[in-house]
């Protein structure tokens, strides 16, 4: 995993876990790597991974089964989506809005672009 330099590492690991869940690599009720395994794999301090897992627990994305380890929550995908939505609205959208405003891009033009994008990438 490549870390970027603009966001706290523990949040980048949150994204990494969310990505695995959304892509179906880690499924509901499956065990996720232990704090130590994750720290070794990503070459980071175990305390950082602990912070990641605490946040993921608060968002109901993973559960801690005492003595056994961490597991993907039953409704993890919903948890990931609502967490990511807040992140997108708060962090990413303002940047896009700023460019839309500065470049005078109309909403109709955006709508057409968006629909073509969905068709081409997701066949929806």
């Amino acid at each position: 995993m490549e870390f970027r330099d603009n966001k706290a590492i523990y949040l980048q690991i949150v994204e990494y876990v969310c990505e695995h869940i959304l892509l179906g690599k880690w499924k509901a009720d499956e065990k996720v790597p232990s704090v130590r395994e994750m720290a070794v794999a990503l070459e980071v301090n175990p305390n950082t991974v602990m912070r990641t897992y605490e946040l993921l627990q608060n968002k109901n994305i993973i559960n801690n089964k005492r003595g056994i380890g961490f597991f993907v929550a039953e409704n993890a995908i919903e948890g990931v989506k609502s967490y990511r939505k807040v992140q997108f609205m708060d962090d990413e959208l303002p940047v896009v809005f700023r460019n839309i405003y500065l470049l005078n891009i109309g909403f109709d033009e955006l709508k057409t672009k968006y629909e073509t994008f969905v068709k081409e990438n997701f066949n929806a």
Binding site: D5, N6, I9
Partner: protein, 275 residues
């Protein structure tokens, strides 16, 4: 784990290195010890390992005074110095001579680390390259299962794959009952491993704070222009890399090099933020 109280230390009476330094370190952390050349990083580490003695003040490591060099303490300290000497013997002879001093020495773990570091075990230590020797003493040090691990510039001399292996090994060596202190100038080698920063400057601790505390109080980011809110900035390709108070609860990534330069340049402005 470690209590330092009003430590005064220097190599000559007229040139004090530490003046009334106080600090406490606990287990379950990897401390990154930073400071300019000559700020006293290695000297602080030597004080902790009982290799040099305080002029006044007290040092307590796991309840012991390290200056007394009691075996019960020394077997719990692993010290990886920056400069070292290894004898003209092979690894097995070295282990036979030195491992008995550490009652918890784990031979199997030592073997695994040597394999991971790709060390030619049949070669004499003295004929190995600096990087290979360094990896041998790191492996030996970790295999002692000591509770206090002190490393002075451990990544110096390590090649690129060895640095990644070193980070993995340290991530797995960090347990709740251990305290790891690493002094380094190569912060980019280690910045994701360090959870608490200790910075020495002007005969004292200029900063001791966890990465979490630092990033709660400060934001590190790229900006196009400099304004009054910025405490310290360095020009970069796309504008400036800046440090400013974290007014909007942003969760930025700590830039350790930038923090280091910022504190050296603007010590007075940072003091009130971390007291």
């Amino acid at each position: 784990m470690i209590k330092i109280n009003n430590l005064n230390f220097g190599y000559s009476k007229h040139k004090p290195l530490f003046k009334n330094m106080s600090m406490q370190l606990s287990n379950g952390h990897i401390y990154g010890l930073l400071g300019k050349n000559g700020a006293g990083k290695s000297s602080l580490l030597k004080n902790l390992a009982g290799l040099v003695y305080a002029q006044s003040g007290t040092l307590e490591v796991m309840g012991f005074n390290p200056a007394k060099r009691q075996p019960a303490l020394l077997e719990q300290i692993c010290f990886i110095p920056e400069e070292f000497y290894l004898p003209s013997v092979k690894i097995d002879a070295y282990v036979r001579a030195n491992a008995p001093f550490y009652k918890n020495f784990d031979h199997q773990y030592f073997g695994n680390l040597l394999k991971e570091f790709d060390i030619p075990v049949s070669q004499k230590l003295i004929n190995m390259s600096y990087g290979q020797k360094k990896k041998v003493i790191i492996a030996f040090g970790l295999a002692t299962q000591a509770k206090l691990i002190i490393m002075d510039e451990p990544t110096n001399g390590l090649d690129i794959p060895s640095k990644a292996q070193f980070r993995k090994i340290m991530a797995s060596a960090m347990t709740e009952d251990r305290c790891i202190i690493i002094s380094t100038h190569q912060v980019r080698d280690l910045d994701n491993l360090i959870d608490t920063v200790i910075m020495l400057d002007e005969n004292d601790v200029a900063l001791k704070a966890s990465v979490q505390e630092i990033t709660e109080k400060l934001t590190f980011k790229k900006v196009k222009e400099i304004d009054d809110s910025i405490i310290y900035a360095e020009p970069s390709l796309s504008g400036y890399n800046a440090v400013m108070p974290n007014y909007h609860h942003e969760e930025s990534k700590l830039d350790m090099e930038l923090l280091f330069n910022a504190i050296l340049a603007e010590k007075v402005k940072f003091k009130p933020l971390f007291n």
